[in-house]
Amino acid sequence: MNFYPLAGKLIPIFWLAAIVLTAIGLYWGFFKTADAMDNGMKEYYRIIYVHVASAWMAMWLYAVMVAWAMIGLIFNTRLSFMMASATAITGTIMTIIALVTGAIWGKTSWGTWWDWDPKLTTFLILLFVYIGYIALQSAIDDTRRSDKASALLALVGLAIVPVIYYAVNCPDPNQCASLHQESSLKRVESNILIGMLVTTLGFWMYSFATILMRARNIILERERNTSWVSKLNEVN
């Protein structure tokens, strides 16, 4: 197991990158966007930095989780399954942040906390798929079986990710009502875009840090009876 010590060395680096990038992204978003404000943007759009960053990470981490689960299913590698389940909880947290910040933003701009708009509804389903994956994994005691069953569930749930992505691109407003604005990076003012992208990078580094921390915990739990674990400095 070379992964365990390597992950341990990488975690502080990812934490540092996460804190620095998120701080720069938010600083840029709050202090360098005076031009956008002159064009009549309302202050509440500033929620965009955490909302978009967490929503992108929620969808991206789901794809990452499925990729690990598929590698595990095809090559039967235990570490891939451990990475998949380590990714799930960070993805769930990102989904919750995106939903809560979205609700707060919705209250300011649409006047309502929640609406059964396609984007919001599909994103809520993403949360349920994440929770379903975690619940299925903890419901089966045999790790090999729970890894495989939850991997299949993750693969089936992958169908929701492109649906979320396209849920706002409604061609005819009379056919499908959508409150959530279309995701188009081209229309975003460049300083806001910088703030958004840098904050997203920060959230990505945060995800690396927490996923590696959780993967190490899972490894310790599953390999507790092996000789390499009992030789670790942490337990001597």
């Binding site: 309302k42 202050e43 509440y44 500033r46 929620i47 955490v50 909302h51 967490s54 909880i89 960070t90 947290i93 919750i96 942040i97 809560v100 910040t101 707060i104 933003w105 209250k107 300011t108 945060y206 840090a209 927490t210 921390m213 959780r214 190490r216 915990n217 310790l220 739990e221 507790r224 674990v229 009992s230 942490e234 337990v235």
Partner: protein, 57 residues
Amino acid sequence: MSEFFHMGGYGAYIWSAMATALVLMLLEPMMLVVKRRAVLKDIKRIKRLEERQNRKN
């Protein structure tokens, strides 16, 4: 400064959104550290028990 926190009347919304992200993103690593300590403690305990067992034999 207070104008900055006021955010044109939307301060409560913006700062509660930021606080939600901050709180969750602090809780997650804290819980991971707590979990790690618990697992390590458990491994150490079992190791001690085994060593005692080996000495008896």
